[in-house]
């Protein structure tokens, strides 16, 4: 399908860029096709126009549940019978590919296609790396550990695809165990089997977090400029065990701890020990304050700092500049920080997708980005040059 594109075949580079995005029955979009060049993309429009839905669609091209953590049924457009598709033509280091995902008729599981062929999640996990920031993350330092843990895991799985598999397997085994514990006369052999799986995947998860936080902390600590340097530390039993023992010993220790906590966990209706309880401690380095004690504006700056730092980790470790999905991020930044953000995104060579209520928020980004106006689930016009939009009606793009 790439042959129908007017632009020349994408040259291998370190930048990931979407060249065409097609949505079918996704959220508010019945059918949308948007063609872009490799520069950053700015989407402007009123609240509820459908800007965030576009970013969410892009986030589904990366492993995981997307930037709203929605269920597969939730993202389907109403009246679409649960069938939806997101497809993109993507230029990346390995050339141009067409990647698609969605729910196909007769299935409730998410399908993935690469150049039209059905593939498994593992086959495309390394293809699309995306990092994002949304307004929902603004209070991540103020609220419970689960939000910070999710934020961290999300950052790590952009670089370590195995992390998602282990986290998913751990979570599944834990939910199974919680269910078995709920039953009268729970089969101890069954619990033992599930605890073995939890220990294996849980320790692998903790080890991946330790590697990921070490890399990100180094990058964050070295930051200069208007987005503050930050120091990160993991707070979790299993992560701490790995300071003093190898993974096999930690597995044995977690297995033992799970066996010992069976009756307590049955009473609590939840598993009370394990890496699903880990927290991330973030400190503003210059102020030497926990991020939660900083002002709202400074917390946002620390978040941006972490996401930009992880993009740099990806660039250093994998030679890959990820897609940056920044939802309503610029509105709360002052002019200095806004300009610094634009500069850094351009320097990263990342195709960032940014949203904002109106174009004036992006003064200083003209010429370096492409602008689109979104209203009522359609792209009204390319505000800047050199972009074409085709609106089409037709069939699912993932079925050939």
């Amino acid at each position: 399908m790439s042959r129908v594109l007017a632009q020349p075949e994408g040259l291998p580079g370190r930048r990931l860029s979407i060249r065409r995005l097609t949505l079918t029955d996704f959220r508010c979009y019945r059918h949308l096709r948007l063609e872009t060049d490799s520069r950053p993309v700015v989407l402007t429009g009123a609240n509820g126009a459908g800007k965030t839905n576009l970013l969410e669609a892009l986030s589904f091209l990366a492993p995981g549940r997307g930037l709203r953590r929605a269920t597969l049924a939730q993202v389907a457009r109403r009246d679409s019978a649960g069938i939806w598709a997101v497809a993109a033509v993507l230029d990346g280091p390995s050339g141009r590919v067409e990647i698609g995902t969605g729910i196909e008729p007769g299935s409730t599981r998410r399908a993935l296609r690469l150049d039209g062929e059905p593939v498994k999640a593992g086959d495309v996990a390394g293809l699309v790396a995306a990092l994002w920031l949304t307004p929902a993350m603004d209070r991540v330092f103020m609220e419970g550990a689960s939000g910070r843990r999710r934020f961290l895991d999300r950052l790590i799985l952009a670089i370590d695809h195995g992390h998602a598999a282990h986290a998913g397997a751990y979570d599944h085994a834990m939910r199974e165990r919680n269910r078995v514990l709920k039953e009268q006369g729970a089969d101890p052999g069954w619990l033992t089997a599930l605890e073995a799986a939890m220990a294996k995947h849980g320790v692998a998860m903790a080890a991946a977090r330790r590697r990921g936080v070490a890399q990100l902390d180094r990058m964050c600590a070295a930051r200069q400029g208007v987005f503050p340097a930050a120091r990160l530390a993991l707070m979790g039993d299993v992560e701490h065990w790995l300071d003093e023992m190898d993974e096999a010993e930690a597995e044995a220790r977690l297995t033992k701890a799970l066996v010992q906590s069976r009756s307590r966990d049955a009473g609590a209706g939840a598993t009370t020990i394990g890496p699903h309880r880990t927290d991330l401690d973030v400190r503003h380095a210059a102020k030497n304050l926990n991020a939660s004690d900083c002002s709202t504006g400074e917390q946002k700056a620390v978040l941006i700092s972490m996401v930009l730092s992880q993009a740099r980790v990806l660039l250093t470790e994998k030679g890959l500049a990820p897609l940056m999905l920044l939802d309503e991020v610029v509105a709360h930044l002052d002019q200095t920080r806004r300009l610094a953000l634009f500069d850094e995104l351009v320097e990263l060579d990342a195709q960032s997708w940014m949203t904002g209520a109106d174009q004036s928020l992006f003064d200083g980004f003209e010429g370096r980005a492409q602008f689109f106006q979104v209203a009522d689930a359609t792209i009204l016009n390319p505000v800047a040059d050199a972009t074409n939009i085709h609106k089409e009606t037709g069939n699912l793009t993932h079925e050939h």
């Binding site: 397997a169 599944h172 269910r179 089969d187 033992t192 089997a193 073995a196 799986a197």
Partner: protein, 197 residues
């Protein structure tokens, strides 16, 4: 667009794994084009299969004879039993032609969230079968998913008091790998490199 009968046919075809409405429409049109050479024989074959094929009461395989042809085959090795989650896995192992022992199809995997426990998989019957027979080795060939490995772990545990060696496939495949998706060489290599549990 089409009449109710064609629409019903398309909707049934679309429920087959791997087919969407567009492929189902294409398949329906193809069948109508090849009414004599394909559609009628297919209808006949479906009807025969629906009435004559049963699950083997010994191993769980599908066959028209009871016990199934594999269970009746005297040339096969009675001392090895391979445990699989479903018939698709059994067929995959048979296609690969690297295994000459007997089978046991569980008909699923342990999944508390789906309400499938040891009793639903007939684990007691499996234990009896191993206790009673001439079985010396049990190979657990469940998928490399959490449920597959939990099931393998559980069964290995239940068999641990018996006089059999229990091994698992060497899954050099990514998490989630199912036998049906593997090529014959990989399946045979995984069998050969099986490890004690």
């Amino acid at each position: 667009m089409a009449g109710a009968e064609i629409e019903a046919l398309i909707q049934l075809l679309a429920r087959l794994p791997g087919l969407g409405p567009r492929s189902a429409r294409r398949a329906a049109l193809h069948l109508l084009d090849k009414r004599e050479t394909l559609m009628s024989p297919l209808a006949q074959a479906l009807s025969t299969a629906a009435t004559s094929i049963k699950a083997c009461t010994v191993c769980g395989n599908f066959d028209t004879v009871e016990p199934c042809a594999i269970c009746q085959d005297r040339a096969r090795d009675d001392s090895i039993l391979c445990i699989v989650s479903d018939v698709a896995s059994l067929w995959a192992l048979e296609r690969a032609q690297g295994y000459r022992g007997r089978y046991h199809v569980l008909g699923g995997l342990l999944s508390a969230l789906d309400g499938i426990g040891p009793a639903d998989l007939g684990v007691d019957d499996l234990v009896s079968r191993v206790q009673a027979g001439a079985i010396r080795e049990v190979i657990l060939a469940t998928p490399a998913t959490v449920d597959g490995q939990t099931t393998a772990h559980y069964i290995a545990d239940r068999l641990s008091g018996l006089d059999v060696s229990v091994s698992g496939l060497a899954h050099g495949v990514p998490v989630g790998g199912e036998l049906d998706y593997l090529d014959d060489g990989t399946i045979n290599a995984a069998l050969k490199a099986r490890r004690g549990l």
